[in-house]
C-alpha cells in the first residue's frame, strides 16, 4: 500500500470517504466509544485540577528539559544502561545497527510505539536482515495487512471485526465466524513463539522520570512486558519530551493518560524499567539501551506558540473527539501522528511546507481543547500555523487575493454592501463550476437559498 503524505490530505480524505466507507463507520464507532469511556472515567475525579497539575508539571519539565534529561541519563548510566542521544531519525536507527551486528539478531519483538513508527524502525530492521514482529494485537493486525497505524492508541480501529475475521482466517486459519476471543487466542499463540525466539525487544516509553531514570510503559495486553523482559537485549526509543521531573509524578500521569485514552483508571500492565537484570534477578534483559530522540522536537520547542504541543502524552483523546478525524481515521493525514495532534506538531517537526494543509484539516470547533489532559490550546496553535503559512507565502494565491480584496471592501461599507448583495444573485451552479472555492461546496450540497431582500434593505424600508 502506498503511504500518502500530508500534502495529499484533501484527496486522501475524499478517497477514504468515497472508496472505503466502512472506515468511517469503524472509526466513528470506536472513537465515540473511547470518548464515552473517557467521560465516565473523569466523572470520578477532579478533572480540572488534574489537568492543571498535568499541564504545569509538563510545562515545568519542558522549560528545564536539559537539566532533567541529563539527570535521567546519569541515573540510567549508573545502572548500566547504554544511553544514546539521537538528533535525527538516522542517529536513532544507527543504534540498532551496532546492536544487531554484535548480537547476531535475526528477529525483534516490538511493543506498540508511535516513535518507532515515526522513525520507521521496522523498515530499517528489514534492511539489516532482521524480521520485526509487532506484538500489540492492533499493531499485529495492521502489520499483517501491511498498513501503518491509523490511531495512536488503537492502531487498527479503522478495521471492522469482519475485516479481522477474514484476515485471521487467511493467515492463521481461524474460522470465518470466529469470536474476538478466538481471534485474540490465535494471535497469542502465534506471538508466543516469537517472544521466545527473538534476540531483541524494542519498545517506546510513555514517560521518563528524571530523578530515578525510570521508563514507564502503559499497556493492556502484557506484550510490552514480555518484549522488554524476555529477549536478552532491550532497546527503548524515548522522545525527549517524555521527561517528567519525579518518579512520583508517574502516579498522576499514568492515571490521567489511561483515563483520557481508554477510560481506564490505569493500564492493565504498567512496566517501570530502570536498567538491565542485576545479579540477584533471575530474568530481564542482559543489556538495555535507551535512545533519547529529538528528530524535530527541539525545533518545535523553539516555536513561541506551538511548543505547548510538546506537553502531549499521546492519549488520543483529541483524535477521539475530533469530528474531522472521525470521518476518515488517521491514514488521510499522511503521517504517523494524525488528528488534531498531528495537525499541530507536523508543521514544527516536518517543516511548514511539508505539513500543509494539515493545519486546515479542522473546522476550529474546539472540541479537542476540552478533552486534552495537558491543556494544549490546539485551535490557537492551528491558527498560529495558518498565519505562519500566510507569512511564508504558502497560502493559495486566490485566497490571499480574496482576503485582501474582502478586507479592503470591508472598510468601505457602501461597496461592501453592494458586493455582499451580489451573493444573493450569484448563479450558484455556474459559479460552482467556475470558481474553485465554490466548487467543493456545490458538488456536495444544494445551493443556499438567499433571502428575498437583504436585511440592510429591509431596515431601510422599515421593520414591521
Amino acid at each position: 500500500m502506498t503511504q500518502s503524505t500530508p500534502s495529499d490530505y484533501r484527496e486522501a480524505s475524499a478517497r477514504s470517504l468515497r472508496d472505503t466507507p466502512s472506515v468511517r463507520t469503524s472509526v466513528g464507532s470506536a472513537t465515540r466509544t473511547f470518548d464515552a469511556h473517557r467521560v465516565s472515567a473523569f466523572s470520578e475525579v477532579e478533572y480540572d485540577r488534574w489537568k492543571d497539575w498535568a499541564r504545569d508539571t509538563k510545562t515545568h519539565a519542558l522549560t528545564h528539559l536539559d537539566t532533567y534529561l541529563a539527570q535521567a541519563s546519569a541515573q540510567l548510566e549508573a545502572r548500566g544502561v547504554h544511553v544514546h542521544w539521537a538528533e535525527t531519525a538516522e542517529d536513532a536507527l544507527s543504534v540498532l545497527d551496532e546492536v544487531v551486528e554484535r548480537h547476531g539478531i535475526k528477529s525483534a519483538v516490538k511493543g506498540k510505539s508511535m516513535l518507532t513508527e515515526e522513525l520507521e524502525v521496522n523498515a530499517h530492521l528489514e534492511t539489516l536482515g532482521v524480521r520485526p514482529i509487532e506484538t500489540d494485537l492492533g499493531e499485529y493486525i495492521i502489520q499483517l495487512l501491511g498498513e501503518p497505524p491509523s490511531h495512536i492508541v488503537g492502531p487498527a480501529i479503522h478495521k471492522s471485526l469482519d475485516d479481522c475475521r477474514a484476515l485471521f482466517h487467511d493467515r492463521l486459519g481461524t474460522p470465518l465466524d470466529a469470536d474476538p476471543d478466538t481471534l485474540a487466542a490465535a494471535a497469542r499463540d502465534a506471538l508466543r513463539a516469537e517472544f521466545l525466539a527473538a534476540g531483541l525487544g524494542i519498545s517506546g516509553g510513555n514517560f521518563l522520570a528524571a530523578d530515578t531514570g525510570t521508563i514507564a510503559l502503559i499497556e493492556n495486553e502484557g506484550n510490552i512486558r514480555l518484549a522488554t523482559s524476555v529477549p536478552d537485549v532491550h532497546v527503548a526509543f524515548v522522545g525527549i519530551e517524555k521527561i517528567v521531573p519525579r518518579f512520583e509524578d508517574l502516579a498522576g500521569f499514568l492515571q490521567i493518560t489511561a483515563r483520557s485514552a481508554t477510560g481506564q483508571a490505569i493500564g492493565l500492565f504498567v512496566s517501570l524499567i530502570q536498567g538491565p537484570r542485576t545479579p540477584s534477578e533471575i530474568d530481564g534483559p542482559k543489556e538495555v539501551h535507551v535512545v533519547l530522540v529529538d528528530n524535530g522536537r527541539t525545533r518545535l520547542l523553539a516555536d513561541d506558540t506551538a511548543w505547548e504541543a510538546l506537553r502531549c502524552v499521546r492519549c488520543g483523546a483529541c483524535l477521539n473527539i475530533c469530528p474531522v478525524y472521525r470521518q476518515t481515521g488517521g491514514h488521510a493525514y499522511g503521517w504517523t501522528y494524525s488528528g488534531p495532534l498531528g495537525a499541530i506538531i507536523s508543521p514544527g517537526m516536518l517543516g511548514l511546507e511539508k505539513a500543509m494543509p494539515l493545519p486546515h484539516a479542522s473546522s476550529l470547533c474546539g472540541a479537542c481543547v476540552d478533552v486534552c489532559p495537558v491543556r494544549i490550546p490546539i485551535p490557537d496553535i492551528l491558527l498560529h500555523w495558518r498565519e505562519k503559512a500566510v507569512d511564508a507565502g504558502l497560502a493559495p494565491t486566490g485566497e490571499t487575493f480574496g482576503s485582501k480584496a474582502y478586507a479592503g471592501l470591508a472598510e468601505r461599507p457602501a461597496s461592501f454592501a453592494a458586493a455582499n448583495a451580489a451573493l444573493r444573485w450569484t448563479p450558484w451552479r455556474a459559479a460552482g463550476r467556475a470558481l474553485p472555492i465554490l466548487k467543493g461546496w456545490m458538488q456536495e450540497r444544494s445551493a443556499p437559498t438567499p433571502s428575498k431582500k437583504s436585511f440592510r434593505q429591509m431596515w431601510k424600508e422599515g421593520i414591521e
Binding site: 470547533c365 470591508a410 467543493g440 414591521e464
Partner: protein
C-alpha cells in the same frame, strides 16, 4: 427609567441569507422594550480572514468594526460564531479597544438571558418538537449552552435529545470550501443521527446553511430555522 439600547450587528451571511432572522431579532428586541439601532457602516467581523491565517486583513476589519460600534452600549448578533470572534479574539487583535468592544458584545439568546434577564418569552412554540444544534463557537467560545434551550422550552417547545447536538456540523467557514468532502461527511453525521422533529434550529446561520444544504442535496430532513425566528414566534 431609560430603555436599553442595542446596536444590531447583522453579520454578512445573515444579511443575505437569513435577513428574516435579522428582522425577527429586531422585532423580538423591540417587543421586549429594547431600542434597536443598525449602524449602517457595519461590514464583516473579520473571522474568515482571521481563521484562514490572514491576520493583517482581519485586523483592518476588526478596527473598522470597533469604529462602527464604538458608541454602542450593547452589540447584539444573531450569530454565535461572529460573537465568538469578537469576544474571544478582538482583545488580542486590537488591544484595549478590542477588549472593550468584546465585553459589550452578545449573541442574541445570551443577551436575552444575561442582560435582559428574560426567563420566559411566551407560549408561541407550544406543540413544536425541535432539535437544537449547538454551534461550536456559541458553545465553546461563549459558553452559551442552556440559554437557547431554556428560552425555546419556556415558549412551549419540546427540545429533544440529539446525540450529535454538540458535534460540529462541518461548516467552519472556509473549511467547508477547502475540505468539502470531509465537511459534507460531518454534516451527514448530524443528519444520520437527527431525531424526528418539526424543525432543526441553531444560533448560527452558517451551520444551518451547511446542514440544510446537505439535507436538500440528499433530499431529506426537516426545515432548518434560525433561533431568532423561533424566539420571535415564541413571544407571539
Amino acid at each position: 427609567m431609560s430603555s436599553t439600547r442595542v446596536a444590531l450587528f447583522a453579520t454578512c451571511l445573515a444579511d443575505q441569507f437569513y435577513a428574516e432572522a435579522c428582522a425577527d431579532t429586531v422585532r423580538l428586541l423591540r417587543q421586549l422594550g429594547v431600542i434597536v439601532d443598525f449602524p449602517e457602516g457595519q461590514t464583516c467581523c473579520g473571522q474568515p480572514s482571521h481563521n484562514s491565517g490572514h491576520r493583517d486583513d482581519a485586523i483592518s476589519m476588526v478596527r473598522h468594526t470597533i469604529d462602527v460600534f464604538k458608541d454602542a452600549e450593547y452589540i447584539v448578533l444573531p450569530s454565535g460564531s461572529c460573537t465568538g470572534m469578537i469576544r474571544r479574539h478582538y482583545g488580542q487583535l486590537a488591544g484595549d479597544k478590542g477588549q472593550q468592544l468584546s465585553e459589550r458584545t452578545y449573541e442574541l439568546s445570551q443577551f436575552l438571558v444575561e442582560v435582559l434577564g428574560v426567563e420566559s418569552l411566551g407560549s408561541g412554540l407550544q406543540g413544536q418538537t425541535l432539535a437544537y444544534h449547538h454551534g461550536c463557537h456559541a458553545l465553546r467560545e461563549l459558553g452559551v449552552e442552556n440559554e437557547p434551550l431554556n428560552l425555546l422550552r419556556g415558549a412551549g417547545a419540546e427540545v429533544v435529545d440529539w446525540e450529535a447536538d454538540r458535534e460540529c456540523c462541518g461548516f467552519g467557514g472556509l473549511f467547508s470550501a477547502k475540505m468539502p468532502e470531509v465537511s459534507a461527511a460531518m454534516a451527514d453525521h448530524k443528519l444520520e443521527t437527527l431525531p424526528d422533529v418539526d424543525a432543526v434550529t441553531s444560533a448560527d446561520g452558517g451551520c444551518l446553511m451547511q446542514m440544510s444544504g446537505r439535507a436538500q442535496h440528499k433530499r431529506t430532513g426537516p426545515p432548518f430555522v434560525h433561533l431568532a425566528s423561533l424566539l420571535w414566534r415564541g413571544v407571539q
